[in-house]
């Protein structure tokens, strides 16, 4: 453990893991709330074009990915808010186009090493450079400030957009803000979990947490805690087992989801018992129907009914 922490790259990777573990579920919860769980996935694909552009122009792939991803997210939000019937087709084009474009650009670029794109796709703890960490930290801080600071507003627009408009919220601006935050999160998380699995870290901790929670606030807190735990554990596991960090993190998150779903039913039952029987009413129906005499429980009609 101490040996692991003595490496600079591991310190950076763990720090990045904490930031990603917080930001991904913090944004993802709103996407899940709006039943747009796969939006993060789409943005991960679009970000590949950004990475490709970074390779071609020899600039930071992270900043390029931020740029392209934000453009993609704004497009997706505009398509969604139009309520366009063919909206899903437009999004599909964006996803496939982004992925194809990314691969093409990378193979055209001079530094097209075999593993270069690979590390962006699946996450790699070895490649979190100090400059990357600075970008991740700044962007992560912005995402956390927005998603936690504006949680009542974002909750309202994702819960019921029409109603939110009547409370005077700038619904369109907030929707765009949320889309941009999701795009930024994708690029923040890409070094740690990889573009293909980014969406999993946005969604799985949220759905795992909601197996056990009843309120939005508790779900958000639990999802963020879970995100941090699985990210740290995944990066650590990745170091010890020499596997890519993304798959390790995601498999851990799914394992947590499985355990929580198994716990959900017994826990709900216990919660009901804990609330006491006073407000629960009697366990079984003990109301005497008028037709039922006090002495004879079964009337002729009922017997006739039973005999049928």
């Amino acid at each position: 453990m101490t040996e692991m922490l003595s490496y600079d790259f591991m310190q950076r990777a763990l720090l990045a893991a904490v930031l990603v573990g917080i930001t991904a579920p913090a944004v993802g919860i709103y996407l899940v709330q709006r039943r747009q769980a796969l939006m993060g996935d789409g943005m991960g694909h679009v970000a590949m074009t950004g990475v490709g552009l970074g390779f071609i122009f020899q600039t930071s792939p992270v900043w390029m990915a931020v740029l392209v991803c934000v453009l993609g997210a704004v497009t997706m939000e505009l398509v969604r808010s139009r309520g366009n019937q063919r909206g899903d087709i437009a999004l599909a084009m964006l996803f496939y186009g982004g992925m194809a474009c990314g691969k093409l650009l990378v193979s055209l670029s001079a530094q097209a090493g075999a593993g270069s794109l690979e590390s962006y796709l699946w996450g790699s703890i070895l490649t979190v450079a100090p400059s990357d960490l600075a970008v991740i930290a700044v962007l992560g801080a912005v995402v956390i400030a927005v998603t936690v600071g504006l949680r009542r507003q974002l909750f309202a627009i994702c819960q019921d957009e029409d109603f939110a408009r009547v409370t005077g919220l700038p619904v369109r601006t907030l929707n765009l803000l949320l889309a941009v935050m999701a795009a930024v999160t994708v690029t923040v998380a890409m070094r740690v979990v990889g573009l293909l699995l980014v969406s999993a870290l946005m969604v799985v901790p949220v759905v795992a947490a909601q197996q056990l929670t009843r309120s939005f606030a508790a779900t958000q807190a639990a999802a963020i805690a879970l995100g941090v735990v699985v990210s740290l554990a995944g990066v650590t596991g990745s170091y010890h087992l020499n596997v890519p960090s993304g798959p390790a993190i995601v498999l851990l998150a799914i394992a947590v989801f499985a355990v929580f779903s198994l716990l959900a039913a017994p826990l709900a039952r216990r919660r009901h018992r804990a609330r006491g029987e006073a407000d629960q009413g009697p366990k079984v129906c003990d109301v005497q129907l008028p037709s039922q005499g006090s002495s004879d429980a079964t009337t002729p009609e009922q017997r006739a009914g039973l005999a049928q």
């Binding site: 709330q33 909750f155 309202a156 109603f163 009547v166």
Partner: protein, 254 residues
């Protein structure tokens, strides 16, 4: 006729379409201060669209809308409006408690400031008014449809609005709760609130209603006093308009 206080809603000659189809073809609708207006009409006649035009979520292609005397474009006093949408569920993809959902109705009051004690008390009062205070901590997804409807009504009441806009608030609500809601609404009206209600049957709200507006195919077919103890078919303008519809039309209202 001029009002010393401008009407809460003043919609004139509204034309709007949804999904490319014209749905409103020139609707006039006014709700005076303190007035209770019922919006009636068959399924698909454009009641919900009219209401959505009033709150601005369906854009007008033609016509004008004023809220409390202010043109829609420059209207900012959203805290004066409470809205109950027509829907079947209050649940979304992530669990939320009854209290959390009702709290969103206070956003126009506290805005970016933290949620304070008086906000919490308002939520309690609104939940008590619809008889759901004992379920405040439960998830909305765990409630029945009628209970969810009552939560959505509480969400509209929680900001003590001057104008309540309710799209079929009584749908799926049992008779006893309808009576409770009618009493709540009466108290709101006594406080001075105006109400715009979409209804299919007047029910226990009947004595409260000052005026009925009947829509047919996106046009106003009747605007005047509600006819007591009758359904839609007895309202003027609703009989014998379609020349071939005389083969015992199905009754809309039981």
């Amino acid at each position: 006729m001029t009002h010393p206080i401008p009407p809460a809603v003043h919609l004139r000659d509204a034309v709007a379409s949804r999904g490319g189809r014209p749905v409103l073809r020139g609707v006039d609708l006014t709700v005076a201060p303190g007035e209770v207006v019922a919006l009636l009409g068959a399924n698909g006649s454009g009641k919900s669209t009219t209401v959505k035009a009033v709150i601005g979520s369906v854009p007008l292609e033609q016509g004008t809308l004023e809220l409390f005397g202010t043109p829609y474009g420059s209207f900012r006093a959203w805290h004066r409006i409470g809205y109950v949408p027509q829907r079947t569920t209050a649940a979304s993809g992530v669990p939320a408690t009854v209290r959390e959902v009702v709290s969103t109705g206070r956003l126009a009051q506290h805005r970016l400031l933290p949620f304070r004690r008086k906000d919490r008390e308002a939520v309690d009062r609104a939940l008590a008014a619809v008889g759901m205070l004992d379920r405040a901590g439960d998830g909305v997804a765990d409630l029945s449809g009628g209970q969810q409807q009552r939560v959505l009504i509480a969400r509209a009441l929680v900001g003590t609005p001057d104008l309540l806009i309710m799209d079929e608030p009584m749908a799926g609500v049992d008779a006893a709760s309808q009576q409770v809601l009618a009493d709540t609404l009466r108290a709101e009206v006594a406080r001075g609130a105006s109400v715009l209600l979409v209804l299919h049957e007047l029910g226990p709200l009947e004595p409260l209603i000052d005026r009925a507006v009947v829509l047919r195919d996106g046009c106003v077919a009747h605007d005047g006093p509600p006819v007591p103890n009758t359904g839609l078919h007895a309202l003027p303008g609703h009989d014998h308009v379609h020349p071939h519809a005389d083969l015992t039309p199905p009754r809309l209202l039981a």
